[in-house]
């Protein structure tokens, strides 16, 4: 962006379509605008509520206690899972990140329709901003998780940190693809907003959060590989690798190995990289579909 105040005939500028600068790449070129939108979204998400930002923590924490009580205390499923609360909370952080990105992202274009119909800007900006806001909320939750892990004898390791980054990238890209697709579709039929609610119910049970991966491996045997085709499950397992595994002592791990139970799938990082690549392809496709639908968005709002 030039700062010149003089207005000479700018013949050096090319003639081009005024709506050319769109797409995800343009979003990251206009960082100042993105920053403003993210900041606005953070303050607007819980506008008019007394507890405000605290809701971002109350929400996952209450879920945590419900699951912990029902699955752990009532069903006694946590007996086989050492440090079950950490296992549960780690999964919950990622699930919450995905659900927030997907849900709020889907509504983002409708919520900003005042801007969408009158201002020329990359409309991908709104789903991206909601994704970043959700990511912003992940930060403090990870800090709480880390503190809990440290108290349980966890020491950070390199593979764990790589897993952490991979897990976040997978969720960010798949969440953003969903947000892009559904935010545009939601303009045409509000039904898509409701479909999101249905989908998010599956997410909680499709990832090793309330049950350990060892159980999947035991029940499904070689079909467990199909389970790993779900990028969300991969991300959660990577996250468990980053935090939960470190809190399980070597003796306990040896005990599991002796019983023939597999805590983590083989070649986990490889699975993670493949999942991320897959998610990026899906993101590319979502962008293409979004650009198609985008053309009709202003007239349908």
């Amino acid at each position: 962006m030039t700062d010149t105040t003089a207005q000479p005939v700018r013949e050096e500028l090319p003639l081009r379509p005024p709506s050319a600068d769109n797409g995800l790449l343009a979003v990251f070129q206009r960082r100042y605008l993105l920053r403003l939108l993210v900041r606005r979204e953070i303050s607007a998400r819980y506008q008019g509520s007394f507890l405000g930002l605290l809701w971002s923590y109350i929400n996952p924490l209450t879920q945590f206690f419900i699951y912990w009580f029902v699955i752990g205390v009532l069903f006694q499923l946590h007996k086989d899972v050492p440090n079950f609360p950490i296992h549960l909370f780690a999964g919950l952080i990622l699930v919450h990140f995905f659900v927030e990105t997907f849900g709020a992202g889907t509504r983002s274009i409708m919520r900003n329709k005042a801007l969408v119909v009158k201002m020329a800007m990359p409309r991908e900006m709104f789903p991206v901003a909601t994704m970043l806001v959700s990511l912003y909320h992940v930060g403090p939750q990870v800090v709480i998780l880390m503190a809990a892990c440290l108290l349980n004898g966890w020491t950070p390791d390199l593979t764990g940190m790589v897993s952490l980054v991979l897990a976040l990238l997978i969720i960010a890209s798949i969440g953003l693809s969903g947000a892009l697709l559904f935010s545009a579709a939601n303009v045409f039929f509000r039904d898509f907003g409701n479909i999101v609610n249905v989908l998010t119910h599956f997410v909680r049970f499709g990832v090793p959060m309330m049950y350990p991966y060892a159980m999947v491996h035991e029940r499904f045997g070689r079909f467990a590989d199909y389970y790993l085709l779900n990028p969300l499950a991969d991300a959660v397992i990577l996250f468990q690798r980053a935090f939960w595994i470190g809190t399980v002592s070597d003796e306990e791990q040896a005990k599991f190995a002796a019983k023939g139970e597999v805590l983590m799938p083989d070649h986990l990082l490889l699975h993670g990289v493949a999942a991320l690549a897959g998610c990026l392809v899906i993101l590319g496709i979502s962008q293409l579909v979004f650009s198609r639908l985008e053309n009709k968005i202003p007239e349908r709002l």
């Binding site: 105040t5 700018r10 606005r40 506008q47 005042a114 053309n295």
Partner: protein, 255 residues
């Protein structure tokens, strides 16, 4: 001279939907009624604007002026034909910029400036000028949802006019402002004209178009009906009849 806006056989099609829910659509289909209808809001329009020209865009309500402006601005893309522009574009569409009703005037000002492409530094430099031009006083801290249409237009115009744009779009800005503000706007737009920037001005007021523009385009049901000299354009539109002048005076469109 370089061309600033090149519009080539542009068509924009809108779909009118009469029924929205599954139930309504099924019932209408069963009865053999139409559920949707397509029409061209802008149809096969071609023209070329040179850098520094002031163009007046006229036509009745619903003739496609705002749609055309939205395409020039980049909010919409043409369905057929091509539309090219040179340089940065700023301006107002349909009497105002896009504002968030819950945000304060100040927050909207910053957001709007960023959307129009100002950098943080540029905005910091111009911020006081914009606030001063808008003359909103303490209202600037109130949510824009509570603004009157005149106040919205003030804020929108103040931001847009301070962007270093190569093309400035002004859609009926003068229709809602009070007289002192309109005088200020006209002075600013004349400044734009004098600085060699391209101006596209939409108005129903024959007098102000005559004063502001050196060429007028008239849209009729989406088609380009006239392209040429402002005086002839006003005769073409029959806006020059005696009672027109009277109406202009009565409603205060005298600038």
């Amino acid at each position: 001279m370089a061309s600033s806006i090149v519009v080539d056989n542009v068509t924009k099609e809108f779909t009118l939907r009469y029924h929205r829910t599954f139930k309504e659509v099924t019932v209408a289909k069963a009865k053999g009624h139409k559920t949707s209808e397509k029409f061209n809001a802008v149809e096969d329009v071609s023209f070329k604007v040179e850098q520094g020209e002031s163009i007046g865009l006229m036509g009745l309500n619903g003739s496609g002026k705002s749609t055309l402006l939205k395409m020039i601005n980049g909010v919409m893309r043409p369905d057929q034909g091509s539309l090219l522009t040179r340089g940065r574009i700023a301006g107002l569409i349909a009497t105002g910029a896009g504002f968030h009703p819950q945000l304060s005037g100040r927050e909207n000002l910053v957001l709007n400036a960023a959307i129009l492409g100002m950098s943080e530094r540029e905005l910091k430099r111009k911020y006081d000028d914009i606030v001063e031009f808008a003359e909103l006083g303490r209202t600037l801290e109130a949510p824009v949802g509570h603004y009157s249409s005149g106040q919205r237009a003030r804020l929108g115009f103040a931001v847009a006019i301070h962007v270093d744009s190569d093309i400035f779009l002004a859609d009926e800005v003068l229709a809602v402002g009070d007289k002192p503000f309109r005088v200020k706007c006209v002075a600013k737009m004349k400044e734009i004209r004098a600085s060699g920037r391209t101006l596209v001005y939409v108005s129903h007021s024959a007098g102000s178009v005559k004063r502001m523009c050196d060429r007028v385009l008239i849209l009729e049901k989406g088609r380009l009906g006239f392209d040429g000299d402002p005086d002839e354009a006003i005769r073409y539109l029959h806006y020059d009849s005696a009672d027109e002048q009277e109406i202009d005076d009565e409603i205060g469109n005298d600038i």
